[in-house]
């Protein structure tokens, strides 16, 4: 069957799936892939600036969104997999919706968020020009197995990359000689100054008392988050120091912004319009549920996605609990990970002074036990998310709110909040 046919069929399936009330993401992608196995590869191969992959454990969605905005500031038309369906079927579905009926994609470059396993499949087929690797942390070990295995997957992605690999140099697995030593693409890095490193503990430092000083092995081509003052950061690269006032808050979102900037500098090379890119950097915002503010009764209600110990610890360190009412919602559906062990690798000391208002989610009582052993007080537990949210909004009335939540809990809470507040639809 010819390609135009598969595009048309895919579009039709997408339309029907949407009419039936689905998001129209996976099914049409599946159909079109069945019809034309190399559909994704062929479509991406035609892009003048090729494909960019963004992978790692934490920060993919936010960083991908930022990279898209930075590249658009340079006048590029960017294709991306916005839905967070970060597997090839999701990419196929996103391609379908962006293509005209002749199968032509109106874009100069593709920027794709991919989890580690799917990144390998796509990279070995598509050969990305650039790859940005954010971190390797413990995440849902019940699904992916060991963290060293995850690093090996990312190494295969880096090996398949043709022009440039950008790594987080503060991640010991990514900057090891073993990881970057045999890559054919140019390697560059991003990270934080040694002064800031204390605030970004890695999983390897989790159970040892002193944090080792990590020095960059790469002297050139490094983009560094030098210092943070409120929402203003100092960025050093290429022998320059720039002050940028950011819209994003939270340490990890700031580091994601620096990673995105490092990648886009590489992609643009000498053609970079630095003023425009820095201006775009100052305007980027986190992706939905990753520090997103939803206004409820005139006050912010912040949603912070937590899905592994590293992310939860960084989240707790990134946002000052003072003045905020806090809810924690822990689900254990497949997408969240079924094993609750990870909660015991997060320290909740920062919540001790003000306590937690509401605990919810299918594993709400596991979370409550965790807090009991951390001497953190809490007002109430209800495993039902709707009731939990209702309790929280009542008990925290008149206060800014913050909800730490696992993935499926976040999606459910956004739906509930959408009934009483303006919540952006995730397409």
């Amino acid at each position: 069957m010819t390609k135009i046919h598969s595009v048309l069929v895919g579009k039709a399936v997408r339309h029907v799936a949407r009419l039936r009330g689905g998001s129209g993401s996976a099914l049409p992608g599946l159909v079109v892939e069945k019809l034309d196995k190399s559909f994704v590869t062929k479509a991406l191969a035609k892009l003048p600036h090729g494909t960019v992959i963004i992978s790692g454990t934490n920060g993919k969605t936010t960083t991908t969104k930022m990279v898209v905005e930075l590249l658009e500031s340079q006048g590029l038309r960017v294709f991306t997999n916005k839905t967070g369906s970060n597997f090839s079927r999701g990419v196929a579905a996103a391609l379908l919706s962006e293509m005209n009926a002749r199968g032509k994609l109106k874009a100069d470059i593709a920027v794709l968020e991919m989890d580690e396993a799917h990144a390998v499949h796509l990279a070995e087929k598509v050969k990305p020009r650039y790859t940005l690797l954010l971190n390797v942390m413990r995440d849902q070990l019940d699904r992916f197995g060991e963290i060293d295995h995850t690093a090996k997957l990312l190494h295969r992605v880096a090996t398949a990359t043709t022009n440039g690999v950008i790594v987080n140099r503060d991640d010991s697995r990514l900057l090891s000689e073993k990881f970057i030593g045999d890559l054919t693409a140019d390697v560059s890095s991003f990270g934080v100054s040694n002064r800031l490193l204390q605030q970004f503990p890695s999983d390897d430092d989790m159970r040892s008392l002193s944090i080792k000083k990590r020095e960059s092995l790469l002297n050139n081509n490094d983009t560094c988050l030098e210092s943070i003052d409120g929402n203003s950061i100092k960025l050093t690269y290429d022998g320059k120091t720039k002050k940028v006032d950011l819209k994003v808050n939270g340490l990890y979102n700031m580091l994601n912004a620096v990673g995105a900037f490092a990648l886009c500098r590489e992609i643009m090379g000498e053609k970079i319009n630095e003023a425009k890119m820095l201006d775009a950097l100052s305007k980027v915002t986190p992706a939905f549920g990753r520090g997103e503010d939803i206004v409820v009764d005139g006050l912010p209600c912040q949603l912070i996605l937590v899905k592994n110990p590293g992310g939860f610890r960084l989240g707790l360190q990134s946002f000052d609990p003072k003045g905020y009412a806090v809810m924690i919602a822990i689900n254990d559906n497949y997408a969240d990970g079924r094993d609750m062990s990870w909660l015991w690798d997060v320290e909740f000391d920062t919540l001790q002074p003000s306590g937690v208002s509401e605990i919810s989610g299918s594993r709400g009582y596991d979370m409550a036990l965790r807090l009991q052993y951390n001497d953190v007080s809490f007002l109430h537990v209800d495993t039902d998310l709707k009731r939990g949210l209702k309790n929280f909004l009542q008990s925290a009335e008149g206060k800014p709110k913050r909800i730490y939540c696992t993935y499926t809990a976040m999606m459910a809470l956004r739906r509930e909040l959408g009934k009483i507040a303006d919540v952006k639809e995730v397409k």
Binding site: R207, D339, S341, D345, D366, L369
Partner: protein, 242 residues
């Protein structure tokens, strides 16, 4: 109160290299419950090359990645005789997953390579290609129903010298054949259960503390601990899919 001065020293084996599945929760629960029972807990972290402390009342160890297990291997054999002496004199110990396997006679890798254990538990482990993953409930005579989460590809078989911790009601346990989970010898408990194990199974935690306190001070009087969350956490956990 003089009781508050009674120290219990908890040795955390290899926190740097064997800590991957949240087994730190076991340390935290022992530390807090020892305190709530009126003792003064002292945690000592033991990493490869450290001096092994003289007075140890409880030994706890967790699971690691293959690379972590490689790093501690030689050191574990160095301190093996000391640990064996402690086990012989009824020092309570809890070892999970990776260290459970290495406390046994041997571990046979997928390519049939034999890694010797320190032999405190009379068990043998053989690596298989299938990974056993999911929620587990076991029934133990001593501790009632024990719940946790397993994630291992090694299958463990008990020899004569070891008794199982319990019989599997849901999940797989030691291996896919005999429905046993964990192994016990003297006051040493080995198990595959993460979760962490002790928060939702405080009976095991209190038993470890009781053995340590009785051995050191001749008696144990439990404190008054608010465990009202435990049945709720257990009830909800048991309702969840495998």
């Amino acid at each position: 109160m003089s009781d508050t001065k009674k120290t219990l020293t908890i040795l955390h084996l290899y926190p740097r290299d064997m800590n991957i599945y949240g087994d730190y929760g076991n340390i935290l629960v022992l530390k807090q419950r020892a305190k709530w029972h009126g003792y003064k807990p002292e945690i000592i972290e033991y990493n490869p090359g450290d001096n092994f402390p003289k007075n140890v009342d409880i030994v706890v160890g967790g699971g690691g990645q293959d690379s972590g297990q490689d790093k501690i291997q030689a050191d574990l054999h160095k301190i093996g005789p000391t640990l064996q002496k402690l086990a012989n004199s009824d020092t309570p110990m809890l070892v999970i997953c990776g260290l459970y396997q290495l406390f046994g006679q041997f571990f046979q890798t997928q390519d049939k390579h034999i890694i010797k254990g320190i032999g405190i538990l009379d068990i043998e482990t053989i690596a298989k290609s299938e990974r056993l993953i999911g929620n587990v409930t076991i029934r133990s005579k001593q501790f009632g129903d024990v719940i946790g989460y397993e994630n291992h590809s090694g299958q463990t078989f008990l020899n004569e010298g070891a008794k199982p911790l319990g019989t599997v009601i849901r999940g797989t346990g030691n291996n896919s054949k005999d429905m046993t989970e964990g192994a016990c010898t003297n006051n040493v408990i080995g198990s595959y259960l993460h979760g962490s194990l002790l928060p939702k199974n405080p009976k095991i935690a209190d038993w470890l503390i009781e053995q340590a306190a009785t051995k050191k001070y001749g008696s144990f009087k439990p404190g008054n601990i608010d465990d009202s969350l435990v049945p709720l956490a257990r009830e909800h956990a048991m309702k969840r899919p495998r």
